[in-house]
């Protein structure tokens, strides 16, 4: 903009000079000098304005404090962020067996408590993350569980190392959905991904170190997660805070996304489950565990499609017997404005007699081939509040369950 004024002034001078003519050389020279002075003043004003603006910006940063992320090399304190997730709901279930059409029915209001996500940038490359659950138990007491706790270190662009407790690199659903119901697209988790304390068959939590990263090419984005962690305990509900044997759990999850929000991948988990004679003579020996699976997803609005399968092999170190199990699900949702109706099919195939499941309590010991159909609607009534309704029909070898559930899930 100053150039416009200078140009106008010069143009004027060129136009005016002949008008002034040789008969008036003094004023002509005065005009030229005046124009030069004006040009210098403009440049000086512009420079001063830029300097003042930079100073104002620095003052604003000082006033706002270190939270505004200036990387000027000055003092910075960790920046803690707290987010919460909670849900309340109502469930009604009718169970029946072949012997009795309706053996058991129950209905109750349900709130499991809430979870807090604490995250903090400790430095430019180090951050902290934790998910702590405050649960209301059936007996009316409160329990506190650290579901996840990680120290993240960004080694360099595209590679992050995390240390602590997290969700094992098994499949797409387990790495994306944890204990916050508002994030979940459905009320219930896929059967194959039930938590260990709810009859789950997979080691969904780890204590150890993870390396994760991704790289992009013309063929899309490839992401990976590699885990080295304490091995499982002797039962599915044994928390591997301490490793019971010297072998470690190894897990690898890789996903290829040829386009954003659509892709496929695979996972592998290896572990050696320790024996525990205290459980029974059938658990005297170690069990070799191999888990492998694949996932496929297409989550481009309005479609939300995810399908996965997992295969589990347990090889008894004492008898040499192998037990093979599998689980799969297919989830399909379709977004219509604020509503997302969905359907999910779940399948479990369980080979009976697996000593690991038999020794892990009555729920796992009784686990059998299971089919479940779930249909529901998620209504994002507000940006951070979702109402979900779901009907589930589950059938296994022993009984059939019909469950109707309503849930209000929110984040705060």
């Amino acid at each position: 903009m100053p150039r416009l004024g200078i140009t106008a002034g010069v143009a004027f001078a060129l136009i005016a000079a002949p008008a002034l003519g040789a008969e008036d050389a003094g004023p002509k020279r005065d005009l030229a000098l005046a124009l030069e002075d004006i040009a210098r003043m403009q440049a000086d004003y512009q420079s001063r304005i830029e300097t003042l603006e930079a100073q104002v910006s620095q003052l604003r940063d000082v006033e706002a404090g270190p939270d505004h992320g200036s990387h000027s090399g000055g003092f910075r304190a960790p920046r803690l962020s707290i987010r919460g997730f909670a849900h309340v709901g109502y469930n009604a279930t009718e169970s029946s067996t072949r012997a009795a059409p309706i053996e058991e029915s129950s209905n109750h209001f349900d709130t499991e408590g809430f979870s807090l996500i604490l995250s903090s940038d400790i430095s430019e490359r180090v951050s902290f993350f934790s998910e702590t659950e405050f649960d209301l138990t059936g007996s009316g007491s409160t329990s506190i569980t650290i579901a996840r706790m990680k120290l993240n270190v960004d080694l360099f662009d595209g590679l992050r190392m995390t240390l602590g407790k997290g969700h094992t690199a098994i499949g797409y659903w387990n790495k994306n959905y944890h204990h916050g119901a508002w994030v979940d697209p459905t009320i219930s988790r896929p059967l194959i991904y039930n938590y260990e304390g709810s009859g789950g068959v997979l080691p969904l939590h780890y204590y150890g170190v993870e390396l994760m990263g991704d790289f992009s090419s013309g063929l899309g984005n490839v992401s990976y997660v590699a885990t080295l962690a304490n091995g499982n305990g002797p039962t599915t509900t044994s928390t591997p805070v301490q490793d019971r044997n010297d072998s470690k759990l190894l897990a690898l999850l890789m996903t290829w996304e040829p386009r954003e929000d659509a892709g496929l991948g695979f996972n592998v988990v290896l572990d050696r489950i320790p024996g525990d004679p205290a459980i029974g003579p059938f658990r005297d020996h170690t069990i070799e565990e191999l888990i492998y699976g694949g996932h496929l997803f297409y989550r481009v609005e309005p479609f939300d499609f995810v399908t996965e399968f997992q295969h589990i092999t347990h090889e008894d170190g004492g008898t040499g017997a192998s037990y093979r199990h599998y689980g799969a699900f297919a989830h399909l949702g379709y977004t219509l404005g604020k509503f997302t109706p969905y359907y999910r099919f779940d399948l479990l195939g369980i080979e009976s007699g697996d000593p690991f499941f038999v020794g892990s309590g009555a729920v796992l010991a009784r686990l059998s081939d299971t089919v479940q159909h779930s249909v529901g609607v998620r209504w994002d009534i507000k940006p951070f509040v979702a109402i979900k309704t779901e009907y589930r029909y589950r059938r296994d070898r022993f009984q059939r369950d019909s469950t109707a559930a309503v849930q209000a899930a929110f984040t705060f």
Binding site: L4, F12, S57, R79, S81, I117, D154, D157, E260, E301
Partner: protein, 155 residues
């Protein structure tokens, strides 16, 4: 004659004063652009996919010594609408907030990026932070020489 000369000289001086109405962005137009610090040489040639990786927290640093600082545009601004539609593939700013809440939950990012009140504030913050990046409307940039402007196809 002297009076006319002085009048014309004053007119030239008035025309040279910076006026927001006539201020032009570095691109000479009014489009949504990305701005980074002038010392940032790593952002050149940025594509929409790379911009998405940055704003979704998947790319967290320019290089070993320069972590990325994100700034979001004002919620109702044209830049925010473009960011929502072309980078996050959502309908509005609320959906971007929801993305960041889920990203915090999944341990992808630690916090929701700060939101600037104006393009002027975005320029000042980017000018003061070597790792900063913001999305603004080019016609609103008051001092384009303070920052580096990057045109991203599809934004």
């Amino acid at each position: 004659m002297r009076l006319q000369i002085v009048t014309l000289a004053l007119l030239a001086a008035v025309l040279s004063l910076p006026t927001p109405v006539l201020a032009q962005g570095g691109n000479g137009g009014s489009q949504v652009v990305v701005i980074v610090n002038r010392a940032n040489d790593d952002a050149s040639g940025m594509t929409r996919i790379e911009l998405a990786r940055i704003y979704k927290g998947q790319k967290r640093s320019w290089d070993r010594d320069n972590p990325i600082s994100l700034y979001l545009p004002p919620p109702s601004s044209r830049a925010m609408l473009s960011l929502a539609a072309n980078v996050f593939k959502v309908h509005d700013a609320n959906a971007i907030s929801r993305y960041y809440i889920r990203a915090i939950f999944r341990n992808i990012v630690s916090r929701v990026p700060p939101v600037v009140d104006s393009t002027e504030e975005a320029v000042q913050r980017v000018a003061a932070d070597r790792g900063a990046i913001a999305v603004v409307t080019s016609g609103e940039i008051p001092n384009p020489r303070l920052i580096r402007i990057i045109e991203v196809d599809g934004l």
